[in-house]
């Protein structure tokens, strides 16, 4: 099979191009370092199939962070028929270096100058023929986001693959010779000794090519980004503005998502009462209970959260594509430095508010192991969308409509607070001195088509999870609460009841009753199961569940339960990601142990504190 690799600096639109070329849904964001792993998709090309490979962005072939190493290893080992090099058309004054380095690998190359739209507004004009002659490979100007020039680029890929039917591996010159080496550890020490010299040689070539082929204005007109930055990066108002924005976005998700969730729950309940229950009436009682109060109630309650989750991720996509995240890194860097971290760690943590797993993988952009570990230690405290569902649900059931958003927001504050506390306590053990250099890209807006695709992608992912292990968890809970038969469901004589008795010494002091403690056991796998489990345990449809809960829980118990849910391990996938990225079982166990202990003590202090006060 033919293989085409997409290489380029971070944030140049490689994944955008990859998505357009292959119809995939790779993550795109206006933040350098979004793709940290190899993504592959197959497309029909030239009568056969070709494998298109989207790679993480690299600053140079001498990079040494883990995401850059992924690319180096790939280029070292995998033969390719074509290397598509994506460069930001308006930033050729620095990005051409990478093209020159790649040229030395002697792979068939196609250079795509992306963001033609931005280059044009900035008044950058490029002599394609001259550039192509200088680089010794075809060059095309495109806009991966809006599609301009895309068809031509696609045809070029096709004909170049055709011209190079045999895949070739990168020709890696010996290290001392010098213009190109992959970021292998062998060469970094070497390169150090003649560092400035080698850089200068490449520099001169770059300047020569740039001067002859590119016409860029000496000074830029005052553009929108500069004007926005004057406000958003204001020395005094910048941070308050950022947190206000975050708060308003949260309000937006909540205000739109909540009513939609209610409608969804109502519709699912009607479906059960009017259609399913009568249809199943002749079935044996145990089977009926299994299907209706087990599978349907459990899954239905989880499904009612689909709208709020979709809205949440669409809003998140707008934020990620806006470029505001890079500004957040700028505004927060000084504060994060006090915690032994940097602005990037803050953004990674913010991304964790969507889902912890990609955020853990996102730490690959950090070179220092200590800083990576410290970041991995705090990311799991980010209140991810799965935990948000549990909280929206409980808060709606226990608190008044007036207090609910405030309580919910207090959990976000708590999530920040534990992360800060953790970093403060452990920064001495994970000290690092990593330079912090980050591009601040222009502000951008996502296209409506991108948002639609994102919404679709989120729904699909959500449904896949729901139909997979969430069903499994719900069924397991039903079995535990309904066996042995002949005793009251979910009573103390059932399997669940006996298990809960064992756990009670741990959970009683923090105000978590026997049945709730069972849901926490399952919540270790995934937080969505907690909601499904609550529905099964309290054995009533979605619309009534809230009422049942309110009768069985007082607000202090509910809040203690939520604090515990927030702080103890997020889910099995996150644990697996930490294990994989840290490469250390010891660190993984430590991270789990620390969060469990912190969860218990926080809930304990809260619950006993309230008891004393009340």
């Amino acid at each position: 099979m033919k293989r085409v690799a997409i290489v380029g600096m971070p944030n140049t639109g490689k994944s955008t191009f990859f998505n357009r070329l292959t119809g995939s849904n790779a993550r795109v964001a206006n933040w350098p370092g979004i793709t940290v792993d190899i993504q592959v998709a197959k497309i029909p090309l030239d009568g056969g199939t070709a494998e298109i490979v989207d790679l993480p962005g690299i600053y140079s072939l001498h990079g040494s962070s883990d995401d850059e190493m992924v690319v180096c290893r790939f280029l070292e080992r995998e033969p390719v028929n074509l290397c598509v090099v994506l460069l930001h058309a308006a930033q050729l004054d620095r990005q051409l270096t990478l093209a020159l380095q790649l040229k030395a690998l002697k792979l068939p190359m196609l250079v795509l100058l992306n963001m033609a739209d931005e280059a044009e507004t900035l008044g950058v004009r490029i002599d394609i023929a001259k550039l192509s002659a200088a680089l010794g490979s075809p060059v095309r100007l495109i806009s991966a986001k809006y599609g301009e020039g895309f068809d031509v680029a696609r045809q070029s890929i096709e004909s170049l693959v055709d011209e190079h039917p045999v895949a070739a591996r990168a020709a890696i010159p010996s290290h001392s010779a010098g213009t190109a080496c992959l970021g292998c550890s062998a060469c970094t020490t070497d390169a150090l000794s003649n560092g400035n010299g080698r850089v200068d040689a490449l520099d001169r070539e770059l300047d020569r090519i740039f001067r002859s082929a590119v016409n860029a204005p000496e000074s830029l007109p005052e553009h929108l980004t500069a004007r926005l930055d004057r406000v958003l990066l204001h020395p005094w108002f910048g941070l308050p503005l950022f947190f206000t924005t975050v708060f308003l976005l949260f309000e937006l998700v909540y205000r739109i998502g909540l009513p939609m969730q209610d409608w969804m729950a109502w519709a699912l309940d009607r479906l059960k009462l009017d259609l399913l229950a009568p249809a199943l009436a002749p079935a044996p009682a145990l089977l009926r209970s299994f299907l209706l109060e087990g599978v349907y109630d459990g899954l239905g309650t989880v499904l009612s959260f689909l709208p709020i989750i979709v809205i949440f991720f669409v809003v998140m996509a707008v934020v990620e594509d806006s470029g505001y995240l890079a500004r957040a890194a700028f505004l927060m860097d000084a504060l994060m430095a006090k915690l032994g971290l940097d602005g990037r760690a803050f953004v990674i943590q913010l991304m964790g508010y969507g889902c912890n797993v990609p955020a853990i993988l996102g730490t690959r952009v950090m070179r220092s192991r200590a800083m990576r570990l410290l970041t991995m230690l705090i990311v799991p405290f980010s209140l991810c969308s799965a935990r948000l569902q549990v909280f929206v649900f409980l808060v709606g059931a226990i608190f008044t409509a007036w207090a609910a958003p405030i309580v919910l927001f207090s959990l976000y504050v708590a999530s920040f607070a534990v992360a800060i506390l953790t970093a403060l306590i452990w920064q001495k053990r994970y000290t690092s001195r990593e330079p912090m250099l980050l591009e601040l890209p222009p502000y951008r807006l996502p296209t409506p088509a991108h948002l639609l695709r994102q919404a679709w992608h989120v729904s699909e992912h959500f449904m896949r999870r729901a139909s997979g292990f969430i069903v499994g968890g719900v069924v397991a809970i039903w079995v535990l609460t309904h066996f042995p038969t002949g005793v009251p469901a979910a009573g103390p004589e059932t399997l669940a009841g006996r298990l809960a008795l064992l756990l009670s010494p741990i959970f009683k002091p923090i105000g978590i009753g026997p049945l709730l403690s069972i849901t926490l056991l399952f919540g270790f796998v995934a937080k969505e199961i907690v909601i499904g489990a609550l529905a099964v345990i309290y054995g009533s449809g979605q619309a009534h569940l809230a009422g049942v809960l309110a009768k069985n829980l007082d607000w202090a118990q509910a809040y203690s339960f939520m604090l515990f849910t927030l702080i103890y391990t997020p889910c099995l996938s996150t644990v697996a990601a930490v294990r994989q990225e840290s490469g250390s079982l010891r660190f993984t166990l430590f991270a789990i142990g620390w969060s469990l202990a912190l969860a218990w003590f926080t809930s304990f202090l809260f619950y006993q504190g309230i008891r004393v006060l009340a």
């Binding site: 270096t97 560092g195 990066l233 000084a334 602005g343 250099l437 890209p441």
Partner: protein, 75 residues
């Protein structure tokens, strides 16, 4: 004089970079290299990073890292 000492709103030309391999590579990749003109746009409070523009690229750089960039004031 180092980049860190350039007042906000002013430009300077890079004369030399005194940084280790990793930082040097990153700086070069982001456009900070000998002979380039850097414009310091602003500084974040509490000893936060500098916001600079070099060529067509805007970037943030910590003050300690900016210290390793030796510059001459733009005539």
């Amino acid at each position: 004089m180092s980049l860190n000492q350039v007042p906000s709103g002013h430009a300077a030309v890079i004369r030399e970079i005194h940084a280790g391999e990793h930082l040097l590579q990153r700086m070069v990749a982001l456009g900070l290299r000998r002979g380039r003109k850097v414009f310091v746009i602003r500084r974040a409070n509490y000893h936060g990073p500098l916001h600079v523009r070099v060529g067509m690229t805007e970037l943030m750089i910590r003050r300690t890292d900016a210290d390793s960039v030796e510059v001459a004031v733009d005539p």
